[in-house]
């Protein structure tokens, strides 16, 4: 311990002396050693002893400093300084100017270079590298000592890398080093602990998801933002089944589609009482063509409308109103439009009564004047495309396929989606809604810029 400190200071002094172009290293270092041995009280355990040494050094050398100062002042005037005055003056100068460097073995320039790796660290106070060097010293010693604990436990005398890894793993402070010194041998205790934590996180997530799913299935009208997003993400990944309508249920497992009784059911849920969530299921006539889903959240609509649109298909006479926001049952619906709006958190309609092409046509016709342009499409899809263009989010190739599927949500609507769904309430008189005048009402009232989330499932 003592010898180490002496050696260290000896080194620094020597270095400084050499930089000063002094030839008498032996003399200078020996003088230094004489001074230093009195003040080396470094505490290896805490690493905090260095400060005391600095103070003791400075105080101990004050009397000499004055004399040396006088000597130093004489130096410029006397070109050949005597050996007696030169070295004490050098020594004092070294002690004064490099108090940091003496205890501070870590090179400041190097530390500064490392700091500059951080692009945000443009300006660094002069004290900063100093503090860093010191902190680094403490850090190294603390890490070493903590690692040594493990070395000692295994009755070894050589500090191994695994000890360091263990120390890092065992102390939260060193968490940031976990990847820097990865451990090859993982202690069972730590492993179990981590694993436990992970499993807990997973299980909780699972529980959340399951509860959310259950809630959606039971409440059927509550749609949370993640659910909506799930719908968005899940739909594009779906593969079309033989029946155009069937994939709707299968492809949105995480969504809040709850009606499984009907082969083709699309659930549209309203996120906000004043919002209308519209899912348009738009399969192309061919069975193999990709399905198209559009979720539109046009601005405030006073009434909740569930609209099932079945083009080219005969409607199923009985649609079970099992869930509120769910609509749309069709054995082979090629087009399914589901619109749900919660009228001021008042009512939500569960079942969708029969819809007719005429109703849809009316709806579409209502939309048509608002639309800017229509893509040349095939017969019945033109209406859909018109509506798509009304929503301004879908680009359709001449073959009727969706080539671009941007998902755009206005900030306001996103906010609406994020709002808790408690506002969404089920009303007993849901089934009374969804009449043709109401649909027209909704369509006409959707004057605000609607947001369309197109979905494209293959």
């Amino acid at each position: 311990m003592f010898s180490n400190n002496n050696h260290r200071k000896h080194n620094t002094i020597e270095n400084i002396a050499t930089t000063m172009n002094a030839n008498n290293n032996q003399l200078g270092s020996s003088v230094m050693l004489g001074n230093q041995t009195t003040s080396c009280e470094m505490n290896p355990v805490t690493g905090t002893g260095t400060t005391t040494t600095t103070t003791s050094n400075t105080t101990g050398t004050i009397p000499k400093e004055k004399s040396s100062k006088a000597a130093k002042n004489q130096q410029p005037r006397k070109p050949p300084p005597t050996i007696e005055t030169f070295w004490p003056s050098i020594m004092q100068e070294v002690q004064n100017t490099t108090i940091d460097a003496k205890h501070q073995a870590l090179p400041l320039a190097r530390i500064k270079k490392i700091m500059k790796l951080d692009e945000n660290a443009r300006m660094i106070a002069a004290e900063a590298p100093l503090l860093f060097a010191k902190a680094c010293e403490f850090f190294i010693q603390e890490l070493t000592m903590r690692a040594w604990i493990h070395t000692d436990e295994s009755k070894r005398r050589t500090l191994q890398r695994s000890d360091i890894a263990q120390a890092i793993a065992n102390y939260d402070q060193f968490d940031f080093l976990i990847d820097i010194v990865p451990r090859e041998d993982i202690k069972p205790s730590n492993h179990q602990r981590k694993h436990h934590g992970n499993s807990e996180g997973n299980s909780s997530g699972h529980a959340k998801a399951s509860t959310a799913a259950a809630a959606t299935q039971q409440a059927t009208s509550n749609v949370e933002n993640p659910d909506v997003l799930n719908v968005a993400t899940a739909v594009p990944a779906t593969t079309p089944s033989n029946n155009e309508a069937l994939p709707v249920n299968a492809t949105i497992p995480t969504a809040t589609i709850t009606n499984s009784q009907q082969p083709a059911q699309v659930l549209a849920t309203t996120a906000h009482p004043t919002q209308q969530l519209q899912i348009i299921h738009q399969p192309t006539p061919a069975a193999q063509t990709p399905l198209q889903y559009f979720i539109a959240l046009p601005g405030q609509q006073p009434q909740l409308v569930h609209q099932l649109q079945l083009q080219q298909q005969q409607q199923i006479p009985n649609i079970t109103p099992t869930s509120l926001n769910v609509v749309a049952a069709a054995q082979q619906p090629q087009q399914l439009i589901l619109t749900a709006a919660n009228p001021n958190a008042a009512a939500a309609t569960a079942g969708v009564p029969h819809h007719h092409h005429q109703q849809q046509a009316a709806v579409f016709q209502n939309f048509i004047p608002q639309q800017a342009a229509t893509n040349p499409q095939q017969h019945h899809q033109q209406q859909q495309q018109q509506q798509v263009q009304l929503l301004q989010q879908v680009m359709v190739t001449p073959t009727g396929e969706i080539t671009n599927m941007p998902i755009t949500i206005n900030a306001n609507q996103l906010q609406f989606l994020r709002q808790p769904q408690a506002q969404h309430q089920q009303q007993p008189h849901q089934q009374q809604h969804n009449q043709q005048p109401q649909q027209q009402q909704t369509t006409t009232q959707a004057s605000g810029p609607p947001v369309l989330i197109p979905y494209h499932s293959f």
Binding site: G47, A125, E127, L130, F132, K134, Q141, E142, Q173, F174
Partner: protein, 122 residues
């Protein structure tokens, strides 16, 4: 800026000495362990720099000051470092101040670059 990756390592000799200081007599340190510790120290510097930079930014400061560093240490749960570092900082500032005073008295013009730096920082 950094030519070689080794430039970012702290000097090996210094690390060795620090390790020896921290370990009891007769303890050996494997090469791997030493390099791991050196790397950890470098990462620590980076980590601390990043934390203190963000702290400085929060205060709309462009310069990383000693206070930022101490706060960053606290944030990183290295509170035990703060006390000795504060003392060191005080000692350092005192020395700088003494030197300034001395320089004023002497007007010898022997101040070196580090002193100027520290003055600016203060």
């Amino acid at each position: 800026m950094v030519e070689r990756i080794e430039d970012l390592n702290l000097p090996n000799a210094v690390i060795t000495r620090l390790l020896k200081d921290a370990l009891p007599d007769g303890a050996n340190v494997s090469k791997e362990a030493r390099s791991a510790i050196a790397r950890a120290a470098s990462v620590f510097v980076i980590f601390l720099t990043s934390t203190s930079t963000s702290l400085a930014r929060k205060q709309n400061h462009k310069t990383i000051t000693a206070t930022n560093i101490l706060d960053a240490l606290k944030q990183l749960e290295f509170e035990s470092f703060i006390d000795p570092l504060t003392k060191d900082l005080e000692a350092y500032r005192k020395v700088v101040k003494d030197k300034k005073d001395k320089a004023k008295k002497d007007t010898s013009g022997t101040e070196n670059g580090t002193e100027k730096e520290s003055e600016n920082a203060a």
